[in-house]
């Protein structure tokens, strides 16, 4: 199952990378479609955060994850560093779970 998912994901990724190189099409995407496509990655990745913050592992959070996520947002917005944010978040969640 997991191998099928990896194979399918590899094909899907290659398809969107290669399609514009392989086929020639005239004209442009409508502006609305471009805006939709540009917003898509942020939306999907944010959608992954939602469930992981409110119900990590499928059970309702006791508050550690939302607080740690808020800290990650603050640290990354301030330092512009993904690594600094991840370290801050992991340390915060480990400490908060001790309480």
């Amino acid at each position: 199952m997991i191998w099928l998912a990896i194979l399918g994901s590899a094909l899907a990724t290659y398809l969107v990378r290669s399609l514009p190189f392989a086929v020639t099409f005239r004209g442009h995407l409508p502006a609305a479609a471009s805006r939709y496509l540009e917003a898509l990655p942020v939306a999907i990745i944010a959608a992954l955060v939602g469930p992981a913050v409110v119900a990590p592992g499928g059970t309702l959070t006791r508050g550690s994850e939302p607080l740690a996520a808020a800290l990650v947002i603050a640290v990354v917005a301030w330092r512009r560093s993904l690594l600094a944010g991840v370290i801050a978040g992991v340390v915060a969640v480990a400490l908060l779970r001790l309480i």
Binding site: V16, R17, L37, I45, A47, G50, G57, E65, A92, A94
Partner: protein
Amino acid sequence: MGTTVVVGTTFGVVARQSGLDPLAIAAMSVFVFAGASQFAMVQLFSDRAPTAIVIASVLFINLRHLLMATSLRARLQALPLLGRLVAAFFLTDESFAMATGHFRRGGRSLAYYFMFAVSLYVLWNLATLTGIAIGGALGDPRRYGVDFAITATFTGIVVLAIRRRADIVIALVAAIIAGLLALAGASTVAVITAGALAPLIAVFVRR
């Protein structure tokens, strides 16, 4: 390139910590070669999402490559079809950003694009293997909060991707819809539903 090493190692660590087969983790970096989608796959695998949902989510995350490839097409037109198809495999956010800068500065060399893009690929895979080794040596992830690393990574990626006010609204709406759906018990379709709905805001908002 530094980012590639850091994110690739993080990917190896969190994927290994989530209990995935090391061979499958390495295969993701070799064949899929797309940072955010590989993290998403790890999350979806640990949520036991159906195969079709995993593939559809990856497709959605990577749809932006259609736009990038389209904008690079004219530059790579000099290559034969086979060359373009090889170049396409190495197209990532980072190689796209580099290529765009290179061509804007008046550069014409395609060898430069290939060298940069292939180096990223090699680094990404070496970093993944390093992460797999580290992740295997760490022990119980929950004890150190390492299970939260993937959520923290996604949160950070979203913050860094914010370009304008509408992005903040889209990200919040997507996270809230997905969170509510997950709480309602629809966790397998939560991500793809919220991820597909929230960008509609961008359609109605003018820059």
